[in-house]
């Protein structure tokens, strides 16, 4: 158990705070001091000046230490509050109520671990302390931990739980239910909470805020709860910011911004609203405005990791380059890239080309025309991307789409063989269409399903690619009913379920496309835009009940993938044997085993693809043509290992087919565009194939990436310029090459050729 003495150590984390901070949460009877109760009443009625004067009087009077701590906290001086709580608990170590409030202060300053330690300490001393349980539930529910549910169950099921903690638990449950989309359960909790409030004459503000959120989500903009709240306290920003949160988690960021704006208008000191407004303005590419709100939030609450992280991220934007690409033909929207300056030259040409292609494909397929410029940001540091996406590091996804703004990992954020950035960009571009075509009402599973489906169908490396772990899940019959598929993304119940859900969603869309047609897929999308849920959308678009759809889909999966599932064990065993045979250099055996695996699943091209093993075996056995054939099949099936593709391109080049080599190396660029030599090789291939302009583009990228061999890089530029007829530029680049390497014979020869042609 932590002693009060050891608790003192963690308090040093609480540093200076400011006077504009948002006030502390409603406490529903956990503070019993009469002087504080008077101040709180004024405060919760929105009588701000009176309340401040009242709290100041408590601070300046001879109130107990615990009351002074509450007053300091209410006046937003958290450091002083901490000092008074420390004194109060030292004076009365057995006063568990004050200790719980001290825990609440830690939770309020985002120090959840320290808060939990206090709650546990209190519960060890008083197992039935309901306020400590409520505090713990608050902290844990914010961290998405299942233990929160246990604490809530205990509070709600116990007949002796006092009204205060019971009310807090009901409101927490109502929030969680609303978050889960369970409006009925939320309403039921609110009804019970309303009775308790009435009994105790506590402020109804929090309840009204949840009620208003529920109304607004239902499309009732004139929620009576808002009017009631404003009548009770015209400065209670939570009435809007609570609802805004639910719009954020359903990806309706602009509606959320509007609500946060209303919140800070009536409650300018509401740091959490400023913070969330800043984060969501960034999602709408309003960077300057976002910074203003984040700075206000920081001034009020310097303890929030999300605020601090996001401001730091904004500071790092000086290292990024904004590249604006107006529409060439006037038909498409402009595109803006925010790329790290070290990578922008290498990535931007490919990214813009992909974005343009995707807009063209998706506009036709989904019959939706984008209305605003598309903004794509790529982050070399994955944690920067995570902060950009969620305000906090530690998320496992590769990309996120907020509407017309996409943020994603840049190719340098991960080892090349792990990440096809081109495919990720294609995936995210599909989200732009599904979100915007539905006013952000598309359910998560359908949006992800379309994106995965488009990766397979029209992406830069097309082909159905399903990881083996997902086949295993299919074998274990872990696919969800379509009506519940969102759960697999939002509340996964086993490790890897999110990935399984991605693949299931993609397969569902592939099934609908192949059996009902792309027009039905599109119709479903627009049904979601009309506000229908999955069951209704399936029934209206496909003409069958969602449960019947599940059966048809299971048949489809069985037909398409059943043979693989039946031989999955054989696959796994064979793969293990390949690894050991390759280790022993038994290439004949590797060839046989790889061929056996390819027969089971010919389209498998992930990093452990049997094609790579087969190519290696054939090469080791001296069968160069067979090795090339294996790699060619691997590539045409969507294989993307850049080293393997570079090897294949060289063989095609050596065989006199530089155009094929250039195409293969294009696939490699969509994985590793920062490999200087790949740009050089692709440029040479394009030049040999007669595409000097393409070659110049590649060589320009290579120069920008500062290659080791600058003489060769300049010489390549000179060759491309020469082929394009730009003799002055060619000569200039030759001099740059020869200035580094005067004896560079190929450059000398071209220089003499230029001189001779000039003389003629």
């Amino acid at each position: 158990m932590k002693t009060p003495g050891s608790l003192l150590l963690v308090t040093i984390c609480i540093v200076l705070s400011c006077n504009d901070a948002e006030a502390r949460d409603l406490h529903y009877g956990s503070v019993t001091d009469a002087s504080i109760a008077r101040c709180d009443e004024a405060h919760w009625r929105g009588q701000i000046d009176d309340a401040a004067a009242c709290y100041s009087d408590v601070m300046n009077g001879d109130a107990p230490a615990a009351a002074k701590a509450e007053a300091a906290w209410a006046l937003a001086d958290r450091q002083l509050a901490n000092n008074w709580f420390r004194r109060a608990t030292a004076e009365a170590p057995d006063d568990m109520a004050t200790k719980v409030r001290w825990g609440d202060l830690f939770a309020d300053t985002h120090q959840n671990a320290e808060a939990m330690e206090i709650y546990r300490e209190v519960l060890a001393a008083e197992a039935d302390n309901a306020y400590a349980r409520l505090g713990a539930a608050h902290v844990l529910i914010d961290s998405f931990e299942a233990a929160a549910e246990e604490y809530l169950d205990e509070l709600l099921s116990s007949p002796v739980t006092p009204d205060g903690p019971r009310l807090g638990a009901l409101l927490l449950l109502a929030r969680a239910s609303l978050e889960n989309g369970n409006r009925d359960e939320s309403r039921s909790s609110l009804e019970e909470a309303r009775d308790i409030l009435a009994r105790n004459d506590w402020p109804p503000l929090e309840l009204l805020a949840i009620q208003a959120a529920s109304d607004l989500l239902d499309g009732h903009d004139d929620s009576p709860a808002i009017a009631e709240s404003l009548a009770y306290n015209p400065h209670y920003g939570g009435i809007y910011s609570t609802a805004a949160h639910y719009f954020v988690i359903t990806r309706r960021y602009r509606e959320a911004i509007d609500l946060y704006q209303k919140a800070v208008e009536i409650d300018p000191g509401l740091a959490s609203a400023h913070e969330q407004m800043g984060i969501n303005l960034l999602r709408d590419n309003q960077v300057s405005r976002a910074r203003r709100h984040l700075e206000i939030a920081y001034k009020s609450d310097p303890f929030s990791p999300a605020t601090v992280n996001t401001l730091r991220l904004l500071d790092s934007f000086v290292d990024f380059k904004l590249i604006s690409e107006p529409s060439a033909d006037g038909e498409q929207v402009p595109v803006t890239l925010r790329l790290h300056q070290d990578e922008s030259a290498a990535i931007s040409p490919y990214a813009i080309e992909l974005i343009r292609q995707s807009i063209d494909v998706f506009t036709r397929r989904y019959e939706f025309t984008l209305r605003e410029p598309v903004v794509v940001e790529m982050y070399p540091d994955h944690e920067d991307f995570a902060v950009r996406t969620a305000g906090m590091p530690g998320i496992g996804i590769l990309g996120a789409t907020f509407g017309y703004v996409i943020a994603m990992d840049s190719p340098s954020s991960r080892p090349a063989h792990q990440f096809q950035w081109g495919t990720t960009l294609w995936h995210e571009m599909a989200h732009v269409f599904t979100l915007e075509a539905t006013g952000h009402l598309v359910p998560r599973w359908f949006s992800e399903g379309i994106s995965v489906f488009e990766e397979w169908k029209s992406g830069p490396n097309p082909g159905v690619r399903i990881p083996m772990s997902v086949y295993s899940a299919m074998q274990e019959d872990r696919f969800l009913p379509i009506a519940d598929l969102d759960e697999g993304f939002i509340r996964p119940t086993y490790e890897g379920q999110v990935l399984v859900s991605y693949m299931q969603a993609g397969l569902v869309c592939a099934f609908i496309s192949s059996h009902y047609g792309d027009n039905v897929l599109r119709e479903m999308l627009y049904r979601f835009g009309d506000g229908l849920d999955t069951r209704a959308s399936v029934e209206q678009s496909l003409g069958i009940a969602s449960t019947d759809f599940d059966e048809a889909f299971a048949d489809y999966v069985s037909k398409e993938h059943g043979s693989v599932l039946e031989r999955l064990d054989q696959w796994n065993e064979t793969q293990a044997r390949i690894a050991s045979q390759a280790h022993d250099g038994n290439w004949q055996s590797v060839r046989e085993l790889a061929t056996e695996m390819i027969a089971i699943l010919p389209g498998y091209v992930e990093s452990d693809s049997p094609y790579l093993a087969l190519a290696r075996a054939e090469r080791e056995l001296g069968n160069a043509d067979a090795a090339t054939q294996a790699l060619t099949t691997y590539w045409t099936n969507g294989g993307y290992d850049p080293a393997a593709l570079a090897r294949l391109a060289r063989t095609r080049n050596d065989a006199g087919d530089p155009a094929a080599a250039a195409r293969i190396l294009y696939s490699a660029m969509l994985v590793d565009p920062l490999d200087i030599e790949l740009h050089g090789e692709r440029g040479e291939a394009l030049l040999a194939a007669g595409d000097a302009a393409g070659a110049l583009r590649e060589f320009t990228v290579a120069i920008d990436l500062e290659p080791h061999d600058m003489a060769t890089a300049w010489f390549r530029m000179a060759k491309a310029q020469y082929e394009l007829g730009n003799t002055a530029a060619s000569q200039e680049h030759l001099l740059q090459a020869l200035d580094i390497a005067p004896g560079f014979r190929p450059a000398q020869r071209l220089l003499l050729k230029l001189a001779a042609e000039s003389a003629n």
Partner: protein
């Protein structure tokens, strides 16, 4: 003015003569001796890699010196006694004008006091290496040590006649290194030949390998566990490999004259580069173009003459 120009010309010729001697040990009666030692691999993957590296180094060495001046000690033959015995034999067989290149390919260790290169039987210590090199008459020495902890002996080997390449900056970088394989790759890699003279110098091989090691760690998102070092100021002048086949020396007056012109032009270009800060970009480019065209014509003439001689 004319006298000054003449003096400059004479000085230039002396410099050029020195340059030619430095670049071409074979042509100046100086011998280039190469010792390649393959240490213990431990795990099969390292044993195989060291084996391949040593084979590639031997091929590179053949391109710059004759086979009798190359000594390769592999596996069980690579003992401390055999290495020291080879140094002993070179002591009497070589002269001060000779050059000596030693490659140590393998694992090393450092216990805060002593560096050891891992061999079958007793290891070779840093002191062994220093002592053996110090007793050699060859005034120009290169040690390339690609082992882990190899940076531990940099200070021990400090000598104005010596160039030392180590895969690590100190003894405490103890992980198996990547530097060696990239250094070996440089010996046959046109991209490492930055001045495009078809020769790979110690400096060029080092620069190539150092960059590749950096790219390796960056590309894999890892903190670098090795930082190569190069000590000594002769690294640009010491050749480790040539990328084309050396032509047999022929006595031909025309060719000698052309080679002489090439040397002079290269010296002129070097002088022009040195005066660049005092010139406008336009003037520099104009003069550079003039010199480069002349050099290119001389190179063409050399190629043509060599073709004529080959045909005879």
């Amino acid at each position: 003015m004319a006298a000054a120009t003449s003096l400059e010309h004479d000085l230039k010729l002396v410099l050029i003569a020195l340059l030619v001697i430095a670049l071409s040990p074979q042509a100046s009666h100086a011998e280039l001796n190469v010792l390649i030692v393959e240490g213990l691999g431990g795990e099969p993957q390292y044993a195989e890699r060291f084996d391949n590296d040593v084979t590639a180094i031997e091929q590179a060495a053949v391109s710059v010196t004759s086979a009798e001046h190359i000594k390769v000690l592999r596996r069980d033959d690579a003992t401390r006694d055999a290495i020291l015995a080879h140094f002993e034999s070179l002591k009497s067989a070589s002269t001060e004008s000779d050059q000596f290149v030693v490659y140590l390919i393998g694992h090393g260790s450092f216990d805060e006091y002593q560096y050891k290169f891992n061999l079958p039987g007793p290891d070779l210590t840093g002191e062994d290496i220093a002592s053996a090199l110090n007793t050699l008459p060859a005034a120009s020495q290169v040690l390339i040590n690609t082992s882990s902890s190899s940076g531990a002996i940099l200070e021990l080997l400090e000598n104005e006649n010596r160039t030392v390449v180590s895969a690590t900056r100190s003894g405490v970088e103890r992980h198996a290194t990547h530097f060696g394989r990239y250094f070996v790759e440089a010996l046959s890699e046109p991209g490492a030949d930055l001045d495009k003279n078809r020769l790979i110098s110690v400096q060029e091989a080092f620069d190539f390998a150092e960059r590749q090691v950096g790219d390796y760690f960056e590309g894999n998102g890892q903190l670098a566990t090795e930082h190569a070092r190069l000590e000594g100021d002769r690294a640009t002048r010491m050749t480790l490999a040539r990328l084309d086949t050396a032509r047999p020396e022929v006595s031909d007056r025309i060719l000698e004259e052309l080679n002489g012109r090439r040397v002079l032009l290269n010296a002129d270009i070097e002088a022009l580069r040195n005066t660049r800060p005092d010139m406008s970009d336009e003037e520099y480019r104009r003069q550079l173009l003039e010199k480069m065209l002349e050099l290119a014509q001389v190179e063409d003439s050399i190629e043509s003459r060599q073709a004529e001689l080959d045909a005879q």
